[in-house]
Symmetry: C2
Subunit: 279 residues, 2 copies
């Protein structure tokens, strides 16, 4: 039997089917003909970074991204030093995995802090120390803006424009931006910001998930399967392409409903939805 | 006993203490020395618009706003006509109550619709029909941007800049914008947009609530009491003032925890928090 072939640019983010172990992920993608995966640090470290790298490359899978470094907004020197240490490890892991991008989520406001501007400045500061390390390991960093509903507790970088403002302080071959439809779909400046990212060679990763309501408590695990929500996903992907993006399109959905199902069945659905709503 | 005196610019939005009837609201504000209220259409209509107007003006209370009109994004002619009818009634109610502003929440995407740009255009279209009606009744309309997490199901106008883009198509004495800290605090363009609003005489209402996490399911009822969250409320109010705003500062918090308590106790807390975090 000929193996199935998924759309060439589709990448499966590991967290979409988090019920799979690393070997199941690799086998599942191979069986479905999916050519790339986005990995997460915790499950990869648990299984072993070297073992994961070997398994993934042995199966001919690209690693479209490693999620994630970041959390740079600590105001105290000890917190800042810890963040830098952890991010250097993340860079090394990304290098070992051959990940095309290390995704960075900036971090939210420290407890009791109300100074968004200050927190955004501290991101630039830590990146100044991290970027040479990334260069040494040949790793590209991708700043991911998260939806403004995460500004307080997770990511003070809320728009692609803000992510570019930070990225553009560093060389384009080292620091780019990640565009995820779930976080950015509402922003009317998105087309202009994607063009800006494309012109500067800064668009290093594209991710897709749909927006569905009502949002669940805590709002983290409410992403929708492709086509279930109100995001013009094909328009989003076409816009990225028109701005020069040629890389993988990573499906990253955090949803307990998907995690409760059989992984292969979820992946078949993802591939089908991708064809209908993204490709 | 001398009546208490609350800060001169503090206005209590009715929904903050929704457990109060209209007479309780009027008596409670009088007892606390609060000089202005923001009203909501449903409880006012239930009690009677004329009766409410009489009670409120008899107590010497200003009506800082009437919440709310809007929901202009229906794509079908019948839906559009219904929205216009309802908003004309809202204008008449605002006039009868002597409300300084009729707050407009634009509406979200119709079911199955993925066209944000189209929905935003339809708002302008309906406003074109509503504005002469507002002029006839001497009512000022205020377009309120809601947080981007409401873009799908409640309000496709997500930033003060977008609200101004719409408002500026109409005369400044008819259509302005409403700046609520809860919806806008994350936006780094807020200072520039507030200045733009101030220059154009468009800033017609300022509201405050704090941002607290985790957000509850549905995210509507998760606003924080002043000082409980991460918003620099004083900075927000000072910024509005620096842009020329001199009107009431309306405390609008939707939170079941406040609704479960004694209304007078909640109002005392609101006044105290306002002094400490806003005034």
């Amino acid at each position: 039997m000929k193996a199935a072939t998924a759309p060439a640019r589709l990448s499966l983010n590991q967290e979409t089917i988090r019920q799979w172990s690393v070997p199941e992920l690799v086998a599942g993608c191979a069986a479905a003909g999916v050519g790339a995966v986005g990995l997460w640090r915790d499950p990869v470290r648990e299984f072993g970074v070297r073992k994961t790298a070997k398994l993934v490359s042995g199966a001919g899978l690209r690693v479209s991204s490693l999620c994630r470094g970041g959390f740079f907004t600590a105001a105290d020197p000890a917190g800042r030093a810890a963040a830098l240490r952890d991010n250097r490890r993340a860079v090394e892991e990304a290098a070992e995995l051959g990940a095309e991008v290390l995704v960075l989520v900036s971090g939210g406001l420290p407890a009791g802090d109300r100074d968004l501007v200050g927190a955004r400045h501290r991101i630039v500061d830590v990146l100044g120390d991290l970027t040479p390390w990334a260069a040494r390991f040949g790793v590209r960093l991708g700043i991911e803006p998260l939806h403004p509903m995460f500004a307080a507790d997770r990511c003070v970088v809320s728009t692609l424009g803000q992510a570019l403002d930070i990225a553009e302080r560093f060389p384009a071959d080292r620091v780019g931006v990640v565009a995820d439809s779930y976080h950015l779909w509402w922003d009317e400046r998105l087309p202009a910001d994607l063009r800006r990212a494309g012109r500067g060679g800064r668009l290093v990763s594209v991710q897709v998930a749909d927006w569905v309501t009502p949002l669940p408590e805590g709002v983290l695990l409410g992403r929708g399967q492709l086509g279930d929500g109100c995001v013009d996903l094909r328009g989003f992907r076409e816009l990225a392409d028109a701005c020069g993006y040629r890389g993988p399109v990573e499906v990253e959905i955090f949803h307990p409903g998907l995690w409760a199902r059989d992984g292969s069945e979820v992946l078949r659905e993802v591939v089908d939805r991708y064809r209908r709503h993204v490709e």
